[in-house]
Symmetry: D2
C-alpha cells in the first residue's frame, strides 16, 4: 500500500488521541484536562482525514500535512504537561506522527 509508514503513524496517533481524550474524562482532575481533551479531539480528527486521503491517489496533500504537523505538535505539547500514562503515551504517538509527516 502507498504511504504505508505515514498511514501507520497516523492510525497509531488517532487511537492514542481518542483513548487519551476519553481517559481524561475519568481523571480526578478533569477540569485541568480540558485543553488536553479538546486538542486530542482535534488531532484525532485531522489525522483521520489525512489517513483516509493518503490512501487515495489525490496528489495535493501538502497543505493538510503541514496542518497535521501543527496540530500533532500542539497535542504533543499539551499531553506532555500531564503525568497520566495515557497522556504520556499520546504525546509520544503525536511526536512520532510529526516525524512521519516530515519524512513524507
Amino acid at each position: 500500500m502507498r504511504n504505508e509508514k505515514l498511514i501507520s503513524a497516523l492510525g497509531n496517533c488517532i487511537n492514542h488521541c481518542n483513548y487519551c481524550a476519553d481517559a481524561c474524562l475519568d481523571e480526578e482532575n478533569v477540569k485541568m484536562m480540558k485543553d488536553c481533551i479538546r486538542t486530542d479531539r482535534v488531532c484525532a480528527e485531522v489525522c483521520s482525514s489525512l489517513n483516509q486521503i493518503l490512501a487515495t491517489g489525490y496528489q495535493n496533500v501538502q497543505g493538510l500535512i503541514d496542518y497535521c504537523i501543527e496540530v500533532c505538535t500542539a497535542c504533543a505539547d499539551e499531553c506532555s504537561k500531564h503525568e497520566h500514562d495515557h497522556c504520556q503515551a499520546c504525546a509520544k504517538a503525536c511526536r512520532e506522527c510529526v516525524e512521519a509527516c516530515k519524512a513524507y
Copy 2:
C-alpha cells in the same frame, strides 16, 4: 452555535460530495468520472474535519480553512466539467463553501 454559517455551508458541501461521488458510479461514462469521484471523496473528508473542529473552541484553524478552500476549489473545477445534475449541484455547493471559508 458558533460559526453557524460556515458549519452549514460545510454540511451542505459534504452531502453533495458524498452524493455526487456515489451517483457518478452509476453513470454510463463512469471511466470519465474517476477524477470527480476521487476529488469528491477528498473534499467530503476535509469538509467533515473542518465542520467538526469548528464546533469546538480550538482556535488555530486557519491552516485547515486554507486547505479546505484549496480542495473545494479543485472539486468545484472538476465537477463543473460534467453535465450531470449531481455534478453541477456539487460544484455549486463547493463554491458556496469556498465563499463561506473566505468570509470566516
Copy 3:
C-alpha cells in the same frame, strides 16, 4: 438528493453533539458532564457515519439506523438531565434525529 430529510436531521444532530461536547468542557461543573461529553462524542460519530452512508446507494442500512436510534436516545436522555442551553438544544436535536430515523 435521496434521504434528504434524515440527512438533514443527522447533520443538525452532529453539529449539536460536537458543540455540546466541547461546551461542556468549559462548564464550571465539568466533572458532572463527563457522561454527557462521552455520549455526545459517540452520537456525533454514529450520526456522521449514517449521514455519509445514506448519501450512497448502499441498501442495507437498517442495522445502522437501529443503532443510531439507540445512541441518539441515550444521548438525548443524558443531555436532558443538564440545564445548560447547549445540553437542552442537543437533547432536542437528538430526539428529532430519532424521529427522522423512525420515519425512514
Copy 4:
C-alpha cells in the same frame, strides 16, 4: 489500550478499504468495480466509527459491532469476486475484521 486487538483489525480494514476503493477507479474495467467501490466506502466508514467508539468507555457497542460484521462480510464477499491484488488484500482484511469483531 483497551480493545487493542479489534482496534488494530479495524484500522487495517479501514486502510485496505480506502486504498481498494481508490485503486478500483484506476482499473481498466472500472464499470465492473462499482459495487466494490461503494461497499469499500461503506465498510471504511463503519469501521472508522467503531474504531473511534471502542477507544472510549462507552459500553453499548454491540449493535454497531453486529452491523460492522454485516458490512465487513458484504465487503469481503464483493472484493473476493475480483482478481486485483487490492481487492484480494481487502477481502482478507475484512474477513480478519469479522473474526476480531466476533471474538470481542
